[in-house]
Every structure is written in C-alpha cells, then in structure tokens.
C-alpha cells in the first residue's frame, strides 16, 4: 500500500515543502553575487572604520555636519541666521518648522513601516505569510492600503451628529503628534525639551479621550457608544497608575525633564527598568490599556463590539483611527524607551551610533513586544481590567512610590560610589516587587491550583446519577 513515494497532497503543501528561508536561498545564488555581497559588506565595514577614526579624533564634535546629533545641524543653521542679521523671529520659526517637519516625517514613516511590521510579524506568529505581493516582501502594502482607504467612499450615518462626526479623526491625531514633542532623540535633539516634560506627556495623553468619546457619541450607534464608554472608563482609570509609575521615575531622577531623565540613566549606566521593574511593568500595561492594544483592547474588541468607537467610520476616517492607534503604540514605545530603557543612550555606544538610531531601535523593540502580545494573548474583560487597575496596580504603585521616595533620599544623602546603592536598590526593588505582587494577588483571591482544574475521564456512560456520583466522588 505504502510502496509509492509520498507526495504532498495539494499544490499548497507542495509549495510549503519547497519553501526555503532567505539564507538558504542566498546560499544557492551564483559566486558572482556572493562576491558582490561580500564587497558590499567589506565596504560598509571600511566606511565604519573611517567614521570611527574621525569620531575618536574628536573633529566632529558640535559642528553642524555632526550627524550623530541632528540638533547640531539645526543649531548651526540658527547660528548662521543670527549672524546674517535676520529678524529674531526668523531662526526661531524656521527651526520650529524644521523640527515639526522632522517629527511629522518620522511619525509618518513609522506609520507606514509599523503597519507593515505589524501585519508581517503577526502573520509569522500565526504561521501565515502576511502581505507578500505588493513590492518586495510586501513592503509597498501600507502605501497600497493608504491609497485604497483614500479611494473608499466615506459613509456617514444619517442619524449621526454631523458637527461632531467629522472632528474626532482630526482631534484624535493631535495628541498623537503632540506627544512626540518632548522626546529626546539625541543630546541636543529634542523638539520641546520642557522642564515639565513628564507632566506634559500625561496631560497630552489624557486629551485623546475626547476624540474617542466624540467619535463614539456622534456615530449614533450602540457599538460605538459602548466602545467609547469602555475606552473612556479605561483611560480615566489607567491614567492614575501611569502617573504614579512616572512619579517613581521623577522621584528617583529628580527631574521632570525627559532629557535629564535620559541623562541620569546614562550617567549611572542604569536603566530604570532595572531599578523600577514594577513601575516599568505598570507603565507598559497601563499604556496598552490607554492605547487600546491587546490584551487590553476592550475598547475595540472585535469579537464583542465590532470595532468599538469607530465602528461607523469608513474609508480614510477609519484609516486615521487605525493610524492613530499605531502611532500611539510607537509613541508609547518612545516613552517606554526614554523613561525606562535609557532613551537614546546605550551604555556609551551613543558616541558611535547616532542617538536617534538607538532610540528607533528601542522603539522598534517595544513595538515588537506589542505585536507579540497581540499575537499571543486573549483579551481581558472590562470589569477585570478596571479591577486590575484599581485593586492591583494603584495600591502597589503607591507602595512602590513610598519605597522609591525612601531610596531617593538615601541616594541623595549616602556618600558612596553610586554603584553600591543602585545595585542594592535594583535587588531590593526586584525582590520586593515579586513578593508584593505574589502576596497581593493571593490576598485578592488568586488561586491558580483551583482555576486550572481539568475535566476528568469517564470510562462508563450515564446520566444525572452518574454526574452526581462523579461530582460527589
């Protein structure tokens, strides 16, 4: 029977069997191509060596052509304008416009790349191919999507509140862009280096509520309204743990300025995620709730309320909502990197590698984490999430802030090399966090051994009597 050689049953299986990875395919190409690639790599290495020589020599420092920090270029431009004797407003407005343009292009680029990454990576998590037809590796898919969305008809419900219906896609975009203001991309490269940067971040993120709610309200649809109410309730609840988590950061670093927080981490070579693990976790988790991402995407839970607050939006209006969601994820990545992952610094490597590239990589990593979560976890329920914020995150965050306050005062007064107290804090905080989380969860009634009781196997069949016997025994 089985003498015949096995053959894949269907063309699809055949295709899968013949599929090779990129490396395998590269090993199969001709010698000339391999040599070409080798030359490219060698050239890249040599160029890096040349750059390294220049950097070590210190010739670049602070000049306008020092592209490790684009702030130098802008400062150079401003200095030139002042020297030329323009009206004092001109350099100010010019640099502001340049910065805004930079942020816009960065965010826009991230939106395009991010949507491709999300779809592609998620597809890989789900053993699918993902977009792979439009351009190489489907890279042009986001552009095609955007074009498609713009061409689509925008359907407006007749019973919608027209005045309010048009505003939310725009309103919701504003905080998503404004939030990028205080992010330091390099030492001198920050659009809006406010001394109340942390507060500004929280304040801006709280503005998103309005757009969400207006969208839900004006659509005149129960799904929209439910989604909006859920989102608003969640944003209001989760703003508190976020604020408290960032309060711990501010206490330890002693500043609300984002560049100072990064500088503090670079100075002590200590990422705050190591010192404040619970704050980092709180920030990450609460952020997923604020920006409606798995496992906290109950505001647009597609299996329950279709698309939540933007159910009634179509075409590019819906596209804007999706874009904002993605942009917010990337913004949270930037904040997470800045507050807890050392921002644009990487233990001294920022001298060699441009800071904005380091930050971009870190943002990408956090974003990858978000995609990973989305591809793995189910969704919480609304009451579970609210309970999690109010019963779990907030009390523990407050306890942690007290702990950090003590540590900060010790740190300020204790006159020893910073490495000792920092290592001690890291160990103490980690241990206390684990213990605190465990005990608090137990106190709240968490009991895994009862939860995961599995069905029993019956060898005989029966009805109610058998059921009662099994249940009793």
């Amino acid at each position: 029977m089985s003498e015949q050689p096995m053959r894949p049953a269907t063309p699809m299986l055949q295709q899968i069997a013949e599929h090779h990875s990129l490396l395998q395919r590269f090993m199969g190409v001709s010698k000339e191509w391999k040599g070409f690639v080798f030359l490219l790599l060698a050239g890249f290495g040599l160029a890096n060596l040349a750059i390294a020589y220049v950097v070590v020599d210190g010739r670049l420092d602070g000049h306008w052509y020092d592209i490790r920090d684009l702030g130098n270029a802008v400062a150079g431009l401003r200095g030139w304008m002042q020297d030329e004797g323009f009206h004092p407003a001109v350099p100010y407005v010019t640099t502001a416009l340049l910065g805004a343009l930079g942020i816009l292009s960065v965010v826009g680029g991230w939106l395009l790349i991010g949507s491709w990454v999300e779809r592609r990576v998620l597809a890989k998590f789900q053993i699918r191919q993902g977009p792979n037809r439009t351009g190489p590796f489907g890279l042009l898919q986001p552009i095609a999507d955007a074009v498609k969305l713009m061409q689509k008809e925008v359907v407006i419900p007749r019973a919608a509140d027209h005045f309010l219906y048009y505003a939310p896609p725009v309103i919701i975009f504003i905080p998503a862009l404004l939030g990028w203001g205080p992010v330091p991309w390099a030492e001198r490269m920050s659009f809006l280096d406010l001394n109340v940067g942390v507060l500004y971040t929280i304040a801006i993120s709280s503005l998103g509520v309005l757009g969400v709610f207006l969208a839900g309200w004006s659509s005149n649809n129960h799904y929209s309204l439910l989604g909006a109410m859920r989102t608003v309730a969640m944003m209001v609840s989760y703003e508190i743990p976020i604020s408290i988590a960032l309060l711990a950061v501010v206490l330890l670093t002693g500043s609300m300025q984002l560049s100072t927080i990064v500088a503090w981490q670079a100075n002590y070579n200590a990422w705050l995620i190591l010192l404040l693990p619970f704050a980092a976790f709180t920030f990450l988790f609460a952020s997923t709730a604020e920006i409606n991402r798995t496992p906290n995407d109950i505001g647009e839970a597609e299996s329950e309320i279709v698309a939540g607050f933007y159910t009634e939006y179509s075409g590019m209006k819906a596209g804007l909502f999706m874009g904002v969601e993605l942009g917010n994820a990337i913004l949270v990545g930037a904040m997470m990197s800045t507050f807890f992952l050392g921002g644009y610094t990487l233990f001294g490597l920022e001298t060699w590698i441009p800071g904005y590239l380091i930050l971009t990589t870190k943002i990408g990593l956090v974003y990858f984490l978000f995609v990973w979560l989305r591809g793995t976890l189910p969704r919480f329920r609304l009451d579970q999430l609210m309970g999690y914020a109010w019963k779990f995150l907030i009390p523990l965050s407050i306890a942690q802030v007290m702990l950090v306050a003590i540590e900060a005062s010790i740190f300020a007064r204790w006159d020893v090399p910073a490495i000792f107290p920092l290592v001690a804090f890291a160990l103490v905080n980690l241990g206390l966090t684990v213990e605190m989380v465990r005990r608090w969860a137990r106190a709240l009634g968490y009991a895994p051994e009862i939860m995961a009781q599995q069905p029993v196997m019956a060898t005989t069949i029966g009805g109610l009597k058998a059921a009662q016997k099994m249940r009793g025994g």
Partner: protein, 175 residues
C-alpha cells in the same frame, strides 16, 4: 514690553477662549457645549503658557481638558434624554447674578492691582529655570497647611463618593 509673538499669541488665545466660552452658552446641544468648553480650557492653558506658567498650563490641560471634560461627559450620559438640550431655564437669573458678581470682583482686583511693570522685569531676571521645583518647595514649605487641608478635603470627597455609591446600590437592592 513682550515680544510681538507673545502679544499675537495672547490675542489669538484670548479670542479663542472667549469665543468658545460664548459658544458654550449659545450651543443648544449639550455635547456641542461640552466640546466648546474643552476648547475654552485649552485656550486657557495656552494663556498660561504665554505667562511662562508651564506647570499651571499643563495642569490645566491634564485636569480640566482631560479629566473634568470626561466627568462632564459622564454627567451628560447620566442626564435623561429630555433634559439634554442646553435650553434656557430659570437658572439664568441666579447665573446672571453670580456672573455679574464675579466680574465685579475681577474688575475690582484688576483696578486695585499695582501694575508696576518693573516687577515683571525683576521676575524675568530672577533665576528660576523650572516652576515645578519652586511650586513644590512652596507647597511643602510655606503653604504646607493649605496643601494638607486640600488633600484631606480631596480624601473626604473620595470617601464621600464611595459612600454615596454604596448607599444607592443598597437602596437599589432593597427595591
């Protein structure tokens, strides 16, 4: 005197604030009124910024535009449909009285204040890089009593809210 940019910003922001405040009164739809109110709050935050009061500005956005508006949204949601339009009611008389009194007080203060421009210059020259640190020092130093009283008041408000909600639920269960 200030730079022309600041003056321009002042007029633009005060115009925005005043216009949207007026629209709050005019708008018939309660939700529209709410939106204008938020715009007015944001204008206020901008005005604070022109006065270099960055902390107050951010706090204005955080508390008023971010939180109070949500509170009002919930209030609107809990309002029965019938009373959801922003029509004219008898409340207009006490409201007018209160508004008149308030504007009198503000005007009195404005006239009574000694508008010495030199003070502003002194303030500008004085070395303060961040208002937050100064506010923190003042709150935990000179005005510690007021700060504590305020926090106790807020705590009581929180507890009061919980008690209110609990009582209502109990009444609902009995009914």
């Amino acid at each position: 005197m200030e730079s022309p940019g600041i003056i321009l910003a002042f007029f633009a922001l005060s115009g925005l604030t005043a216009t949207s405040a007026l629209l709050v009164l005019v708008a018939r739809n309660l939700m529209h009124a709410l939106v204008f109110l938020v715009v007015s709050f944001l204008g206020m935050a901008g005005l604070f910024l022109t006065l270099s009061a960055d902390f107050i500005a951010v706090a204005q956005i955080l508390i008023y535009a971010g939180s109070i508006s949500v509170l009002m949204v919930f209030a609107v949601m809990l309002t029965p449909l019938a009373s959801r339009n922003n029509g004219s009611t008898l409340y207009v008389i006490p409201a007018l009285l209160a508004a008149g009194g308030l504007s009198n007080i503000i005007g009195f203060i404005a006239i009574d204040t000694d508008w010495d421009e030199r003070k502003g210059e002194v303030l500008a020259q004085s070395d303060f890089t961040t208002t937050v640190a100064g506010i923190g020092d003042l709150l935990l130093g000179k005005y510690i009593l007021a700060f504590e009283v305020a926090s106790v008041l807020l705590l009581f408000a929180l507890l009061g809210a919980i008690v209110l909600v609990q009582e209502r639920r109990r009444a609902g269960e009995e009914a």
